[in-house]
Symmetry: C2
Subunit: 217 residues, 2 copies
DNA sequence: GTCTATAGAGGGATAGAC
DNA sequence: GTCTATCCCTCTATAGAC
């Protein structure tokens, strides 16, 4: 944390978050870390390797840091509230914004793609575990594929963090709308037995497998 | 379309989509367009201006191209199917992946932020119009803020397109999960009057305004 | 409008002194 | 481990011939 290696990792995170993948270079990172530029290559071999390691390590650290909060979530509503807290927290500690930048850089560097995949997997598996637990008692569990759902939620979160960089107000209103929507889930869970049975029946009737869609002309 | 200007705009889109913002430069774009590098500056003044214009123009063109499909959507289920078609279509024509890259570049260049905001606004307003129309008859309309919801959906789509670049299979499963979830919406709309009334009552009870969340420690 | 040539800055990466 | 110095490349942007 305090060594040169740690300083570079921290500076890489801060630089990616603040200047984006396009503004991140060995010189910029080293300046932010207050160390010599050549040390990037001594400690990590290349800029891409430094970024990859910073991305993975930061994700591991933050997922670990929030694990208890994931475990404490007792409803989808709680999970969405946790999402909003995470969003506010990310403004400063921002691993997800970093993830978005590394994901963007993945197009020009396959090694970044691997790092982003690994970092995202940490968030996704935490989400999947939580969703599995929370959806057991919900009518949604009849149709939900939690593995895919966890990926969709994680990707959506990344998208919103990216959106935040260009339009903070818009991102805020997006989150607010999702929070409202969580009331629907809450209402579903609080449904009486009769209405629940009716919903169950409708779900059985409509939730049939559909063939994969074809591209528009 | 066929002139040098048009070739550069097309090449800028293709380069952003294939190599990302980090791999996009005047030289790379000009090579892809088959024209001289200096022409980037003659026609657009700077690389950022070329990217901005390409991003805006491509969004306008594609939103226009899909407008009829948005208008034809008769249910949220249709809208989600349209989303999957759009996703498949984007693999080749990819304005949304470009949007993600410009959004990523926004951190290092404010002019890119403005371009991304404008391009996103086109998608968002189309989505908002459609959501407004579709949600009128759904129980969801009681709690939904379509303006925020449209932004959330657009940002989520951007996130998934970005995710697609690093893990195509994961992105596919995310979409599949959302498609399953649309069955829930379908079921909600098909609910009988009694169950619908029960849901309505639960919604009125749970959908109270909550104070904004505070960051986690 | 398009080309060549080039200035000038910044980038990745390495050699070698300390 | 850290520093200076440097090589060589790519980048943006411009000047000037055609």
């Amino acid at each position: 944390m305090t060594g040169t290696r740690g300083k570079l990792l921290n500076a890489a995170i801060a630089t990616l978050r603040d200047k984006g993948i396009a503004g991140t270079s060995a010189r910029v990172i080293a300046t932010a870390a207050g160390v010599n530029q050549a040390l990037v290559f001594y400690h990590f071999g290349s800029v891409a390797k430094l970024i990859s390691e910073a991305c993975r390590e930061s994700a591991a650290e933050q997922v670990e840091h929030h694990r208890q909060q994931f475990a404490r979530a007792a409803s989808l509503d709680d999970l969405l509230t946790l999402g909003r807290q995470l969003h506010a927290w990310q403004r400063d500690a921002g691993n997800v914004a970093v993830l978005a930048q590394v994901l963007a850089g993945a197009r020009s560097d396959p090694s970044l793609a691997a790092a982003a995949r690994q970092a995202l997997t940490l968030w996704i598996s935490e989400l999947e575990t939580t969703l599995d637990r929370l959806l057991r008692t919900s009518p949604i569990s009849e149709i939900a594929d939690t593995a895919g759902l966890a990926r969709a939620v994680a990707a959506a979160f990344v998208g919103i963090e990216l959106y935040e960089g260009a339009d903070p107000d818009g991102a805020e209103s997006a989150f607010a709308a999702l929070a409202q929507l969580s009331a629907l889930i809450k209402a579903l869970d609080g449904l009486g037995p009769a209405a629940r049975r009716a919903l169950h029946n409708r779900l059985r009737r409509t939730a049939t497998a559909r063939p994969p869609p074809r591209p528009a002309s």
